[in-house]
C-alpha cells in the first residue's frame, strides 16, 4: 500500500504554504521531509492526517483508526503518567486488557521508558517526552505513521533512539513519513523530499538526489558571489549551478546539507532575478 498527497496546494490567506506538491509514502519505508522553517513540512504532514484542508489536489490516507501521528508539540498529556498517557490513547483505539498490557510493556521496553512508567509526562526530559509521544502514535500499529520533527531539540542519544523506533515501525510494515531539520538523519531515509517555500526542490533516495545534483560546489575563504555562498564550519562554500568555477578553485563533493542549501539558493536567486 502506498499513501500519498498529489498536486497538493494549500494557501493560508495570501501565503502559499504548499505549491503543487506530490509525495508518496510506500508501506515499509521511511520518507523524510526536510527543509527550513516555513518550508511547508508541517503543512504537508498535517494535510496527510486531515488537519489541513487542501485548496486543490488529492490525499490518499488510511482512516483514523489506522493512522498514527506525532505532532510537533509534546504529543502527551503533562498531568498524566507515562502509563496513563499510553492507556488513554490505546483505549481510544480499542486496546484493552492483556493485549494492552503486553503492548504497553513491549513499547516501554523498546523506547527505554520502563523505569519512567509511573512518572508524570511533565517530569520527563524532552527526549523522553518525544519517545512517549512516539509510543502513543504507534500503540495501535498504524499503517501510516506521521512524525512531525520528532527529534527537534532533543539530545543525540534520544535522536538515535527515535530513529531506531521509526525504522522498526517501517520494518514491521508501516509507511513512515517524518519531517526533520537534521539532514544527517534524513540521509538515512529510503526517500527524501526537500521542501523550500512550499515547493519541492528535489526528491528521491539520497543516492538519487546526489546523482541528480547539477553544478559544482567549491570551498573557499572568500566567495566570489556572496549570494551563492554559505558558511560550513570555518570555511565557506559556493555553488556554481551552470558556469564553472574560477580556475584554481577547490571543488568538494557536496553532502546533503550542501545540496539542500545550493538548491534553495538557486531557487531564491532565480526568483529575485
Amino acid at each position: 500500500m502506498t499513501y500519498s498527497v498529489r498536486s497538493a496546494t494549500v494557501r493560508f490567506g495570501h501565503v502559499l504554504a504548499l505549491d503543487d506538491v506530490t509525495v508518496e509514502v510506500p508501506a515499509g519505508s521511511v520518507v523524510a521531509v526536510v527543509g527550513g522553517d516555513g518550508a511547508g513540512k508541517s503543512t504537508l504532514l498535517r494535510a496527510l492526517v486531515g488537519e489541513v484542508a487542501l485548496d486543490s489536489g488529492t490525499v490518499e490516507a488510511p482512516p483514523k483508526q489506522r493512522l498514527g501521528y506525532l505532532p510537533a508539540s509534546s504529543g502527551s498529556w503533562a498531568a498524566l503518567t507515562v502509563t496513563q498517557n499510553i492507556d488513554f490513547v490505546a483505549g481510544i483505539y480499542g486496546l484493552a486488557g492483556d493485549e494492552l498490557t503486553a503492548r504497553r510493556r513491549e513499547l516501554l521496553d523498546r523506547a527505554s521508558l520502563t523505569p519512567a512508567a509511573d512518572r508524570l509526562a511533565a517530569q520527563l526530559s524532552g527526549g523522553m517526552r518525544r519517545k512517549l509521544g512516539f509510543v502513543m502514535a504507534i500503540v495501535h500499529r498504524p499503517e501510516l505513521l506521521i512524525l512531525d520533527e520528532p527529534s527537534t531539540g532533543i539530545d543525540p542519544v534520544s535522536r538515535i533512539d527515535l530513529w531506531r523506533l521509526a525504522s522498526e515501525a517501517a520494518a514491521s510494515g508501516a509507511a513512515v513519513l517524518m519531517s526533520t531539520t537534521y539532514l544527517d538523519e534524513a540521509e538515512r531515509a529510503a526517500h527524501l523530499v526537500v521542501l523550500d517555500d512550499g515547493k519541492i526542490l528535489v526528491q528521491g533516495s539520497y543516492d538519487q538526489v546526489r546523482a541528480g545534483f547539477a553544478g559544482v560546489v567549491t570551498q573557499t575563504a572568500e566567495p566570489v558571489r556572496a549570494e551563492w555562498a554559505w558558511r560550513r564550519g570555518r570555511v565557506q562554500r559556493e555553488y556554481w549551478p551552470s558556469a564553472g568555477p574560477p580556475p584554481g578553485a577547490t571543488t568538494v563533493a557536496p553532502d546533503l546539507e550542501d545540496i539542500v542549501i545550493a538548491l534553495s539558493l538557486a531557487r531564491r536567486n532565480a526568483v529575485l532575478s
Binding site: 492526517v49 486531515g50 488537519e51 484542508a53 489536489g57 490525499v59 493512522l67 509534546s74 481510544i92
Partner: protein, 351 residues
C-alpha cells in the same frame, strides 16, 4: 523600550480592549447601575377596601394589582410569585402590609416607608424577616460560583489542551468530537455540582439561610444554568489560544454578571439604559430561581419565565459553542466543504 511596549500593546488587541473597555464599563455601571435606592415598589392591594386603600397610597407604592375579592392567601401568592414587592391586605384594622423580604432593597425601602404610617399599618416581612443581606446574597453567590467554574475553569481546561498541542492529537484520533467535548466538560460539571451543594449547605448551616422550596427544582435550575456557563467556557476556549487570553475573555463575561445581574444592585433601581443588559445575563435568571426557591419556596410554575429563558440560553450558547469546538477538532470532517474522510483507505479530491 517604551516604543517596544506600545508596539506589543497595540498588537495585543484583547489587553487593549480590556484597558479601554473596562474603565468605560465601570463608569457606565457605577454611573447608571450602582444604585441601592428603589424609587417605586410594585404593590398589590387585596380585600374589601382594596380600591379605597389603593387610591390613598402615595405614588411610591406603584399599585399593579387591585383585588377587592382577594384574601391574605392571594396576597402571599403574589409575593411568592415575585409579582409584587408589597401587598396590602384590607378588611382588618390596622391594614396588614406584607413585604417581600427576598427583594432586599425594595423591602428595606418598603419597611422605611411603612414605618412612617405608624399604627395605621401593621407590617410583616415575609421570606427574610430580619432583612439579612446574607440570605439574599448566598443564593446569588451559588450562581456566581457556578459561573466561575463553568466559565473560567472550563475555558482554561479546554485551552490548555490547545496550548499543549494535544487537541491536535485528539483531532486525528478515531474519537468523536462529541465524546471529546463530553469528556472535557463532565468533570467540571461534577465539580461545580459538588461545589454548589457544599455552598448551599454551608449557607444554610452557617448563615441560617432557609431552603423553603423543592430541592429538585433548584437542582434542575442549577443544571440548566451550569450548561449555559459551561457553554460560555467552551466558547471562550474556541476564541483563545492561551490560558491568559481565556482568563481575560472570561473576565469580560464575568464582571457584568457580578454587577448587572441584580446580585449586588437591584435591577429595578438601575437606569433603563443599562438594566436591559442585566436581562441578557444568565446569572440574572439563576438568581431569580435560587432566591425564589430557597427563600420564597416558589414552585416551578411561578418561576417558569427564568427557567424558559435559561433553557433557551443553554440551548443557544452550548450548541453554538460546541459546534465551534467541533470545527476546531475536525477541520477535515465530512461537514467541511474542503475535505472528506471516508471510512476506508481512500483517495480524496479537494478540487
Amino acid at each position: 523600550m517604551i516604543v517596544k511596549e506600545f508596539r506589543e500593546l497595540v498588537r495585543d488587541r484583547r489587553t487593549l480592549g480590556l484597558l479601554i473597555m473596562m474603565p468605560l464599563l465601570l463608569l457606565v455601571i457605577f454611573g447608571y447601575a450602582a444604585n441601592f435606592y428603589v424609587s417605586s415598589l410594585k404593590t398589590a392591594v387585596v380585600g374589601p377596601q382594596a380600591t379605597q386603600v389603593a387610591a390613598t397610597l402615595p405614588s411610591f407604592f406603584d399599585v399593579t394589582v387591585t383585588q377587592p375579592s382577594g384574601t391574605k392567601a392571594d396576597a402571599e401568592t403574589l409575593l411568592q410569585d415575585n409579582k409584587v414587592d408589597v401587598a396590602f391586605v384590607t378588611g382588618q384594622t390596622p391594614v396588614l402590609a406584607l413585604v417581600n423580604g427576598s427583594n432586599l432593597f425594595a423591602a428595606q425601602s418598603a419597611v422605611a416607608a411603612l414605618n412612617k404610617a405608624g399604627d395605621k399599618v401593621k407590617t410583616q416581612v415575609l421570606y427574610n424577616p430580619d432583612l439579612k443581606t446574607s440570605w439574599v446574597m448566598i443564593p446569588a453567590i451559588i450562581g456566581l460560583i457556578l459561573t466561575f467554574i463553568g466559565t473560567i475553569i472550563t475555558s482554561i481546561g479546554m485551552v490548555r489542551e490547545r496550548e499543549a498541542g494535544t487537541l491536535e492529537q485528539l483531532a486525528v484520533m478515531p474519537i468523536k468530537p462529541s465524546r471529546v467535548i463530553l469528556g472535557k466538560i463532565a468533570p467540571y460539571f461534577l465539580v461545580a455540582s459538588v461545589d454548589m451543594v457544599i455552598v448551599t449547605v454551608l449557607g444554610i448551616v452557617l448563615f441560617g439561610v432557609p431552603f423553603n422550596g423543592n430541592p429538585l427544582a433548584f437542582a434542575l435550575g442549577a443544571a440548566i444554568f451550569l450548561f449555559v456557563t459551561l457553554g460560555l467556557g467552551v466558547f471562550i476556549s474556541t476564541i483563545s489560544q492561551t490560558a491568559g487570553q481565556a482568563i481575560q475573555t472570561a473576565f469580560f463575561f464575568l464582571l457584568p454578571q457580578i454587577l448587572l445581574s441584580g446580585m449586588i444592585f437591584p435591577l429595578e433601581a438601575m437606569a433603563a439604559g443599562v438594566r436591559w443588559i442585566g436581562y441578557l445575563l444568565p446569572l440574572t435568571y439563576f438568581t431569580m430561581i435560587s432566591q425564589g426557591i430557597m427563600l420564597r419556596g416558589a414552585p416551578i410554575s411561578s418561576l417558569w419565565l427564568p427557567f424558559v429563558v435559561l433553557t433557551v440560553m443553554a440551548l443557544v450558547v452550548f450548541t453554538g459553542a460546541t459546534l465551534r469546538f467541533r470545527r476546531d477538532l475536525a477541520p477535515g470532517s465530512p461537514a467541511s466543504p474542503t475535505r472528506k474522510r471516508p471510512a476506508a483507505a481512500e483517495t480524496v479530491s479537494a478540487a
